[in-house]
């Protein structure tokens, strides 16, 4: 039986530290990210690829602000949709080129994806997710007056937006059908566009962003994936990260990880959602979660590096 995986690529892996994010840099990084994916497909895996969009959506927000006197500013949900176009196109083209060079005859498609959230999600009333660049205090005060929500962080001020919990991927059933048909699917980019269901109306978009790892987990549920592979910029999940006591986790079971999670052993904004996604996936019957860096995804899947989390 074919094994099925959802691969979640970190948005920062497409624009690396020190890069400004030109399209040439982004394409080069995307090609590098495809290496592990090609190896998995060669090995017979069905894959759905999802990706972050932090730097890309940040750039779109900046572009919208810079041009707002000459062309109407688009809301955040629309910037997410635009980033799905941008990143979806890059991954689709790079992956399908890489497969062709390996003489693998598989179709790759990228789907615009919506994700249902709860209209009563507490995050909608209390935005906490920082996006975009850092601002000075003066700039932040001006933006506050213009109606943006801002927060002061150690390095400066940033915009904050709601980040509601993903409930269900709208296109989940179709994505599963495409996988069943042997198609490689890119979906739920940037977490997907958050929408609420309105009685008598249908779906309606929101000014918010959904965490892409939590959305990847919902996607993994929707397609009955065996494995959730989260590729980011660290080789392992670490306990007591960035302290003298920092140590990598190689293998851990669900209950031990849950204990560490509730003891707040992982940074909230970074590794926290990945761990939460991991716990949920295993609770839903997932067989395995692997977390490692983009460069070593294939090796991590084989247990040669990275953190593997297993059911109890």
């Amino acid at each position: 039986m074919t094994k099925r995986a959802v691969i979640a690529l970190g948005g920062n892996s497409l624009i690396k530290k020190g890069q400004s994010g030109t399209i040439y840099e982004q394409f080069a990084n995307t090609r590098e990210s495809c290496r592990s994916i090609v190896r998995m497909i060669q090995d017979g895996w069905d894959v759905v690829i999802t990706h972050g969009n932090g730097p890309q959506v940040g750039a779109l927000v900046l572009q919208n602000q810079a041009a707002k006197d000459i062309t109407p500013e688009m809301p955040l949900g629309i910037c997410v949709a635009e980033s799905e176009g941008l990143v979806g196109y890059m991954v689709q083209q790079c992956l399908s080129n890489a497969l062709k060079r390996e003489h693998i005859n598989k179709s790759v498609i990228a789907l615009i994806t919506q994700v249902i959230v709860d209209p009563h999600d507490p995050s909608l009333a209390h935005p906490t997710k920082p996006i975009g660049p850092y601002y000075t205090e003066d700039e932040a005060l001006t933006m506050l007056k213009q109606g943006y929500q801002m927060t002061r962080l150690p390095r400066g001020w940033r915009m904050v937006v709601p980040s509601p919990e993903p409930v269900r991927i709208v296109e989940g059933e179709i994505i599963k059908k495409m996988l069943d048909d042997g198609i490689i699917v890119i979906a739920s980019g940037g977490g997907g566009m958050p929408v609420v269901e309105k009685e008598g109306w249908g779906l309606d978009g929101l000014e918010a962003v959904v965490d892409k790892d939590l959305a990847a987990e919902r996607l993994a549920e929707a397609v009955d994936a065996h494995v959730l592979l989260i590729l980011t910029d660290v080789e392992y999940v670490y306990l007591d990260y960035n302290t003298d006591a920092q140590r990598p986790i190689e293998t851990i079971t669900y209950s031990s990880l849950k204990e560490q999670y509730h003891a707040c052993k992982f940074p909230v904004g970074n590794m926290g959602p990945k761990i939460l996604a991991t716990l949920r996936f295993l609770e839903q019957g997932g067989e395995r979660v692997v977390i490692s860096n983009i460069e070593q995804g294939w090796e991590a899947l084989q247990g040669k590096t990275g953190t593997t989390i297993l059911p109890d």
Copy 2:
């Protein structure tokens, strides 16, 4: 047997004359555009929807220029991909809401779409397609120095970009399969991202835009459509448009239309490509092309208004 149609929505229909193009206007116009599509689906048609992106890609180009000192400017092909995300999301959400309200249980998906062009297409060396806003002569001179290609038009200066001929829709086969499976597909938005095939490498993007009606025709070939329905901002195709001799065409055959086309009876930048797409589709065995305005698409398909073009 199910009838199959490709519906090409004009980009200007989503931002109407006198509108600035806020997201609220665009969503309202998109909902209006869906009315005819819903009627066709109720009537049992398989449909693929494609759309223009002129105003949307123009806005993205402006936003990129306005922010170029703070975040890297994205090339035109990437702006097209972003506009596919934006418009694809709007059409997908509005159409699927409208279908649900009519109790039609059909899935709607939007696909990122690439279109193959010939690397030796003469347009690549001689850009002629105007995009984006009008500039003053001073602004245009500055932009020329920055490397943009500009052209002087009666109302002012505009950027011009290459617009190569579409050869083949990369995702055509998959789109056909989805239609066969009863899925409603949105594809090839803004003509699709133009790519060339490079020996030993694969596909590579270009700084260009493809005419969306010519791309719609390639899409119609790829999915074996019976009908190509081109919805724009005029009710009929007119002979001697905007002259005292202007008269609408109700029904015309392939050969008569071809004769008028070669006698240059249609404006090059506007109706010209629609007529060329029409001729090609009928040459490839298409049964019928209908051209009318967005509001009356359904009525035009039934022959109650609009221009119908039939094989000889």
